[in-house]
Amino acid sequence: MISLSRRTAVHVIGLVILATLPVAADLAGEPFLTTVASRVLIYAIAAVSLDLILGYGAMVSFGHGAFFGVGAYVVGILTHHAFNGSAVPFLPGEWMGTTSAILQWPLAILVSGFFALIIGALSLRTQGVYFIMITLAFAQMLYYFMTSLPTYGGEDGLNVWERSSLPPLDLYNDQQFYYLTLAVLLAFVGLMQRFVNSRFGMVIKGCKQNETRMKALGYPVYRYKLAAFVIAGMGAGLAGALAANHTEFVGPGMMHWTRSGEIMVMVILGGLGTVIGPILGAATLLMMEEVLSQFTEHWMVILGPFLIFVVLFLRGGIYGWLIGPEKGDE
């Protein structure tokens, strides 16, 4: 009972902090914090989506940044064409792109889902370390592909001249952007919560524990895993679409393997195989970066050992540490 209430307390405190943060930031005279917090929320979405395959399915994808980048580039490219008045290539008709979020964001999700389908279909034929490396390889391919595409900025990336339009909201308003991102995150978390507790989620978790047995039980394991991989890719694409709006810039750096590594670190740091953990991980990593860099330019000398410490002594990540050991844990 005690541990249950502790978990609830963590959730309630977290929600209160998230809901009041922009107001508090204004009161404290640090409105810049709201922008930082939006960044945290965006990465939290990416981390939660990665945890679906990483934590629940034990599919260690080292290329999640690719889908994040694809989502961002969809927004960047559509805005680019809308701004230039040029047609989007390879599409029937003369479509000049759009800045409407209603079109941009679902497209970002679909396109990154499509890439996840192809990459997942090929990668899931391998296992273990080989899976880690082949997902990494595909992400690097996309990274170099975007680097070589001068039409969309190549190495230098692409400025997003206009944030997505989503009337009646104004995405240039930092507070509105924050609350919109928060709403997206909460909706996504709710969806993931339902996913992992559904029959689908059970199968995915079953594959993590014993894939051979799941096969023997007659489940088409490959298809289930692929579906999870695609859903995770779509989540990252959504985060990417938001990130493109947040930084008003998209570049190949978003797909680089260090980005995938960062998202992975967030998940493990926060707590693998939980829906809330990755949010805490994203917040911890990005806020540490923000705070430590104000004290010393050599903040990584603190962050690095901290990461090692967390792995060695905080099993279950920050979330596991906060809610304490629970009865009936696997």
């Binding site: 260690v60 391998t126 490396m133 990494l136 390889a137 595909f138 690097q140 391919m141 090692i308 060695l312």
Partner: protein, 309 residues
């Protein structure tokens, strides 16, 4: 003319492959025997490069620098193994990725504190700065030939070590079933530290060799790390022979891609575009190679000793 260019690029590819082999040999052993994903292997390469450069500049002798760089990388590697990494052998890959990512950040920042953020440059030692006309009509830098020779020598020594010595026998046995080796009374912990030290020294040697050719800078380790992983995946984890084949393959594909893809692209694009498209395509080519190998053989080209589990 084209033949000369081709031969020259082949040598370049061999030289790059040999460098990758120095990195990959250690990484694949650590990977195959301890089942440890060590992202920090590139940091040891960086340590080797920095120490070699500093000692060479101080002593004026490249050979002394190389020995110092190797020793430093070996000592640092074993220290990291003793302090942190050995606790990770029994953990899953994810924990290893996170912890060694932490090691990378720490080393990069420490390097910045000790040596400063500016890149260092080391000139080629005088006795190797000449050129050799190994291909008629195309003088080739002696230093690159030297690297190829060193790499092949290391390969032979490793081969002897693994096939003919007691340590090598234990390494092979450890790669197959490490529990059994432990049960037979071998001090597994010490074996692991030694293997890690050997891997670290080879990474340090690679860094030392890279010194006179590349900018010595923070982050140089990560660049080569990913290529190294590609190599050991292509070669098959735990197999030193696979690491050699994989390294040469990756080195050649990368070098040929860099040299010839822009030329081929010029048939389709204007020169400036062709160069950038060609360069990126050559960067992609390694990953395409790896994906193809894995789709064809999901466990790499060579299986580690006896193990198919």
């Amino acid at each position: 003319m084209t033949l000369v260019l081709f031969l020259e690029q082949t040598l370049n590819g061999l030289q790059q492959g040999v460098m990758l082999f120095l990195m990959a040999a250690g990484l694949t052993l650590v990977f195959g025997i301890m089942h440890l994903i060590n992202l920090a292997h590139g940091s040891l390469y960086m340590v080797g490069a920095y120490v070699t450069a500093s000692v060479t500049m101080a002593s004026g002798n490249f050979a002394v620098g190389v020995v110092a760089g190797m020793a430093a990388a070996g000592v640092v590697g074993m220290a990291v193994e003793l302090l942190a990494l050995r606790r990770l052998y029994a953990r899953d890959h994810l924990d290893q990725v996170l912890a060694t990512f932490g090691v990378i950040l720490t080393f990069n920042e420490l390097t910045k504190i000790i040596w400063g953020p500016q890149a260092m440059f080391l000139s080629t030692p005088e006795w190797l700065s000449s050129t050799v006309e190994i291909i008629p009509g195309a003088p080739y830098p002696a230093y690159r030939l030297f690297i190829i020779a060193v790499g092949l020598l290391v390969g032979l020594v490793l081969r002897h070590l693994i096939i003919n010595t007691r340590l090598g026998m234990l390494i092979r046995a450890g790669a197959t079933t490490r529990e059994m080796v432990g049960a037979l009374g071998v001090d597994i912990d010490r074996l692991f530290t030694i293997v890690f030290g050997i891997g670290a020294m080879l990474a340090g040697l690679a860094g030392a060799m890279a010194g006179p050719m590349l900018a010595i800078e923070v982050g140089m380790g990560e660049k080569i790390l990913i290529l190294t992983f590609v190599v050991i995946i292509i070669g098959g984890i735990g197999s030193v022979r696979g690491a050699l084949v994989g390294a040469l393959l990756v080195g050649l594909v990368d070098t040929f891609g860099r040299a010839f893809l822009p030329l081929i692209m010029r048939a389709f694009f204007e020169p400036a575009t062709a160069d950038s498209v060609g360069a990126s395509m050559s960067s992609m080519s390694i990953y395409i190679l790896m994906a193809l190998v894995l789709i064809w053989r999901p466990r790499g080209l060579f299986q580690a000793y006896g193990g198919n589990g």
